[in-house]
């Protein structure tokens, strides 16, 4: 196959349109239908997840292209040329594959326009995810060419979109509950992100990447052979790669898709300011460093002024997966929430104040500690009393009633029954100044080590209402 024929085929087929269609629809979905992405890994994973939509589109594009000769009524004419079918279809298969792969990569431009920090950390784990996605879309186009050849009808392409969408997007979700996808879901062209770990930086394991690579390459080979085959016997033989691929990788698939996602150590390397006191963030949250510096240093100053043995540096900490073990936090470090934790209940940033002020409150929450996982309660039933105590410690350190209660007349509880931060603060202020200091310092100690004990009692001397 010469380059000249490929060029003609690129001009005369729908290849360019297919590339544009994939890039435009996928790019639009990446750009418009999702909130801004935190990092690169998230963009490429969402792009793979969206293959529930783009994969059927590519399949239909192939089927549409395969119908060309019938549509132009030159099927018999072309059939009489003295060349084998497999030789004849090479240029169009190459042109369509090229178009699909280019369209898939161009799609990323939509994500590029929607990422918070484009120059930020690019995980090496993102490269195989993009490459395997491109391979999957090439396989879809070839499979579509094969189906379009076997079922030459103007209805094949649109019905393939609907059927592919029902099969990829609707049924897998209906049959298995979220986060419990079995490992066989890695056989599907789309890839679910690590839902369990929230936005904790993760990469897909090499084993999972390799099995997907092998399987999707086998599917693409089957599609191409099926398209190029002229006889029934060859068509049956075309199934061999797909079957062999499935047999080869089924035993090595993990039990659940979630197991194939591993933490990304490279993303957690700290980037610190030169200026003292040091403020650090993980590499993946580099863009948050500037905003963190001012409130971070203010929080360090407040702690140094009011408590003995204060921390000396601020370190941005990502929200990790639920079920993390309780570990003792180092005394010289003030943890700062970074990543998508912003604005979730309990992070304390969902308030009507400036971002810097909100960050200060979040930093000093629990006297500058992270909440202990075994005390937080569940997302459905959070331990309000615990959060109240942590918030009151921050209010004592800052010397103000928290902003969300400042407008309330006379410290009225917004959620009655649990009391308000103002009430806890008043109880604390009723004690002698030296004892207030000792109690908050003790509170910080138990929070840091996640020791047992009623937090409100430690703080004020009287146990909580519940």
């Amino acid at each position: 196959m010469s380059r000249r024929i490929l060029r003609i085929e690129l001009r005369r087929s729908t290849a360019v349109w297919v590339a544009l269609l994939l890039a435009a629809t996928g790019g639009f979905m990446l750009r418009a239908l999702n909130p801004p992405y935190e990092n690169w890994m998230q963009v490429v994973t969402v792009q793979r997840d969206m293959m529930q939509l783009t994969w059927p589109l590519a399949l239909a594009a192939g089927a549409w292209q395969a119908y060309r000769e019938r549509r132009s009524r030159v099927e018999e004419l072309v059939g009489t040329t003295p060349r084998q079918r497999w030789q004849r279809v090479q240029p169009i298969a190459a042109a369509m594959a090229l178009a699909a792969a280019v369209g898939y990569v161009l799609m990323l431009a939509g994500g590029l326009a929607n990422i918070k920090d484009v120059g930020g950390y690019f995980s090496p784990g993102a490269v195989p995810i993009i490459a395997i996605g491109a391979l999957a879309i090439v396989g879809a186009v070839w499979l579509g060419l094969a189906i379009g050849t076997l079922l030459p009808s103007p209805l094949t392409a649109p019905l393939l979109v609907v059927a592919g969408f029902a099969g990829l997007a609707v049924l897998p979700q209906m049959l298995v509950e979220a986060n419990r996808e079995p490992g066989t879901y890695l056989l599907l062209p789309f890839l679910r992100g690590p839902r369990d770990g929230g936005f904790f930086p993760q990469v897909l394991s090499t084993g999972a990447n390799l099995s997907q690579l092998l399987w999707l390459a086998a599917v693409a080979a089957t599609g191409l052979t099926l398209f190029a085959a002229a006889r029934t016997r060859t068509r049956v033989a075309a199934m061999i790669p797909a079957v062999a691929g499935a047999v080869a990788i089924l035993p090595v698939l993990p039990n659940q898709v979630a197991e194939a996602w591993l933490p990304d150590r490279g993303a957690l390397k700290l980037i610190c300011t030169e200026q003292r006191p040091q403020v650090c963030v993980p590499r993946i949250s580099r863009h948050e460093l500037d905003d963190l510096q001012e409130p971070g240093r203010r929080a360090l100053a407040v702690l140094a002024a009011k408590l003995p043995n204060p921390p000396t540096r601020v370190v941005g900490t990502l929200d990790d997966a639920p079920g993390r073990p309780a570990v003792t936090q180092p005394a010289d470090t003030l943890p700062a929430p970074v990543g998508v934790a912003m604005g979730t209940p309990g992070s304390g940033i969902d308030m009507p104040v400036s971002a810097s002020e909100g960050l200060l409150w979040a930093l000093l929450d629990g006297a500058g500690t992270r909440p202990c996982p075994d005390l937080e309660g569940t997302p459905e039933d959070p331990n309000e009393e615990y959060y109240l105590a942590r918030r009151a410690a921050a209010a004592w350190l800052i010397g103000q009633v928290p902003p969300e209660e400042q407008q309330l007349p006379g410290g009225q509880a917004k959620s009655s029954g649990d009391g308000t931060v103002t009430q806890v603060l008043d109880a604390l202020h009723a004690l002698p100044a030296e004892e207030q200091r000792t109690r908050v310092a003790a509170f910080r100690e138990v929070e840091r080590t996640c020791a047992a004990g009623d937090r409100l009692e430690i703080l004020t001397g009287t146990p909580g209402p519940g």
Partner: protein
């Protein structure tokens, strides 16, 4: 009777009806397998898209010039063809969706079919009957991400509600307006101009 039979055959209606029946059977079978409420109504939406897509290729005959020179008033016949085809889709899929535990309301199926059929007709006028299905398919695919259970459709501003009319619940006025508008514009355009060659 002969002219009608020939007309129907020239528009490949028998094959279309067969495919439509296939869609209805698939919908019925999937309705038995899936018990999630949102999932069931999403399947009905997909079946509606498939059903309307079947109308597309039949919007033009095999020989454009032959149709054009015939001494037949095509405009009312084209409008009738589209309306009857859409009515068959609504009737068949609507009836299927009501079997057993209802999967989706009749009004919703009628609204979506009306809008999608109008879109197919617009596609036939602008792109030709063979490519007519591109418009409803693309619109449906782009809207799918905000369709329950995959997502939630926006409830304001009005233009977003109109763009996602396929995903909106039946109570949404902008969605109904969009569907009716598409249906009317599509039917009028197709009746007046016919399919592009």
């Amino acid at each position: 009777m002969r002219p009608l039979t020939r007309y129907l055959r020239s528009r490949s209606v028998p094959a279309g009806i067969a495919v439509l029946l296939g869609c209805a059977v698939c919908l019925w079978a999937l309705g038995l397998a899936v018990d999630n409420r949102d999932g069931r109504s999403l399947l009905v939406l997909l079946a509606t898209v498939a059903g309307v897509v079947v109308i597309g290729p039949g919007l033009a005959g095999p020989d454009h010039d032959l149709d054009r020179v015939a001494a037949i008033a095509w405009s009312p016949r084209r409008a009738l063809h589209l309306v009857v085809a859409a009515a068959i889709v609504v009737g068949l899929l609507g009836a299927t969706a009501q079997i057993g535990d209802p999967m989706s309301g009749m009004a919703l199926i009628a609204r979506n079919t009306a809008g999608l059929a109008g879109l197919v007709a617009v596609g036939a006028v602008t792109l030709g009957a063979a490519r007519a299905t591109l418009l409803p398919i693309l619109w449906a695919v782009l809207v799918m991400q905000v369709t329950p259970p995959m997502g939630t459709p926006p409830d304001r501003p009005v233009y977003k509600e109109m763009l996602t009319w396929l995903a909106q619940p039946i109570g949404s006025t902008p969605a109904t307006v969009t569907a009716v508008l598409l249906g009317v514009v599509g039917t009028l355009a197709y009746a007046l101009f016919g399919s592009r060659r």
